[in-house]
Symmetry: C2
Subunit: 282 residues, 2 copies
């Protein structure tokens, strides 16, 4: 029996992941476990892992790496107590760069040669913007944020290359400085905008025709603001056509145990035995 | 003919590196090219690179990775126009974990299977603390900052493991908040302290007997403040005893072209063609 999103709304990460693991929830994770970091997942064969990790390091705003598994290990200890094979609601399996399946469990697909990468996502800074009273049209209208291939090229690494993909949110002119400052506090969630204003300056000809997602208006007294987007690594991977790649299904994230705060940057790299981390977490 | 440190004091990174490349300067780089990021260098065989990169990602405060070379390529484009084989004043060559030589040029030692890692160093936040009027005893007394093996264990990655090594600086109690806030602005340079106050809480029995560097006093109205230290990865590597490893000689850093600012975090991952980066750099 599937549980509705509303039943899980106030549940802990552990409870939500157990429901997902039991096959009781397969939907999107937006709004679940507020205050906890949710992350994109990319799983690749180890032979591509060093180059992909270099790609993330070199393009940190588009690919903010918050955790990496050991080869063959379906967990990332620094981020929480989860099993990467069962604890996401829905996965996408790509073979040779083409979507082959969207399973709810990848236990039978997991292998000893796989490396999992957890990448920060825009949920984090979107929550912070909304908390500061900055409305986001795509959320209010239950649509997907518009995303565009920009003319900014990612720094390549091995076979991984391509344009920086950006997402666009229309922000009231009066709140531009706040928007910059708030999103800059979350380097693990794409950080500050990469561009503010004229879309043509970053190679976007027509704001009404996004490459991914749905169009969104730019009302009077609003300015289009562009952030580096997690589709950047996905597009770079698709172009490489690896024999095998598993990701989260968009919107169906991994819910971690760590706080969704700017300070997560500091918490991430300290082992849990460290007293000052415990203080900060409680 | 060797140039004195004072001759290069106001030179550009390019001029200093050219002098180093020509064999005209082999000394330490402290105080050279103020405002430019200086970094630690670690060069390892590719077979260890993925695990070492995971070690850095998992222990980012001790091992703040700011750049990684392609395998066999002696440069890191995002950080500047330099040759890693010739542009550091002095290197350390380790064979099986033991210091074998301290050459001024590693052209004949470079190989197609090597990967170079650039790690942020404490010069950055030390300059910022001093600029804010917070004096640092070890600098005023021309000694090396005291460093200690702490009881905080690094998160392991493959063969890389061990304690987080910390450096200690005595800070006036009245400036503790400033010190925390200023160093937190530099996540690429070890960031905020990992511990403030009682050394016993992180397993340090005797502040007067550092494991590396020179002892430094904690005067009245001062508090010992501990930062994660770049010796952490060096100690982890030494314990692995790789057949081959090259590092900078301590204090003899790689001088990059990028600014030594908090905003470097943002600049790092954007390609140089991006107009807003140009604005920020000029």
């Amino acid at each position: 029996m599937l549980l509705p999103h509303s039943t899980l709304k106030d549940a802990t990460p552990d409870t939500v992941r157990k429901a997902i693991r039991a096959g009781q929830y397969t939907g999107h994770t937006a709004g679940l476990c507020p205050g906890r970091l949710q992350v994109n997942l990319v799983i690749l064969p180890e032979i591509l892992a060093l180059d992909f990790m270099r790609f993330c390091q070199r393009n940190a705003r588009a690919c903010p790496l918050v955790g990496v598994s050991d080869t063959g290990a379906p967990h990332i200890d620094a981020l929480g107590d989860f099993d990467l094979r069962t604890d996401l609601p829905t996965y996408n399996l790509y073979r040779n760069g083409v979507l082959a399946d969207s399973p709810n469990d990848i236990s039978t697909l997991w292998g000893d040669d796989l490396v999992a990468f957890a990448l920060g996502c825009s949920f984090t800074f979107e929550s912070a913007l909304q908390a500061a009273g900055i409305a986001l049209w795509h959320i209010q209208n239950d649509s997907t944020v518009p995303m565009f291939r920009s003319s900014i090229q990612a720094r390549p690494a091995g076979p991984f290359a391509g344009p920086i993909v950006v997402s666009m949110r229309a922000i009231p002119s009066a709140r531009l400085d706040d928007t910059r400052a708030i999103s800059a506090r979350f380097p693990h969630a794409h950080g500050a905008p990469v561009h503010v204003g004229d879309p043509a300056q970053i190679g976007i000809a027509d704001l009404t025709r996004p490459d991914w997602g749905d169009p969104a208006p730019v009302p009077p007294d609003h300015v289009p603001v562009f952030w580096a987007c997690g589709v950047t690594p996905q597009a770079a991977i698709a172009a490489v056509r690896p024999p095998y790649c598993i990701t989260h299904k968009p919107g169906h994230m991994l819910i971690t145990d760590i706080p969704d705060l700017a300070e997560a940057l500091d918490i991430l790299d300290l082992p849990s035995r460290h007293p000052s981390q415990q203080e900060r977490l409680t």
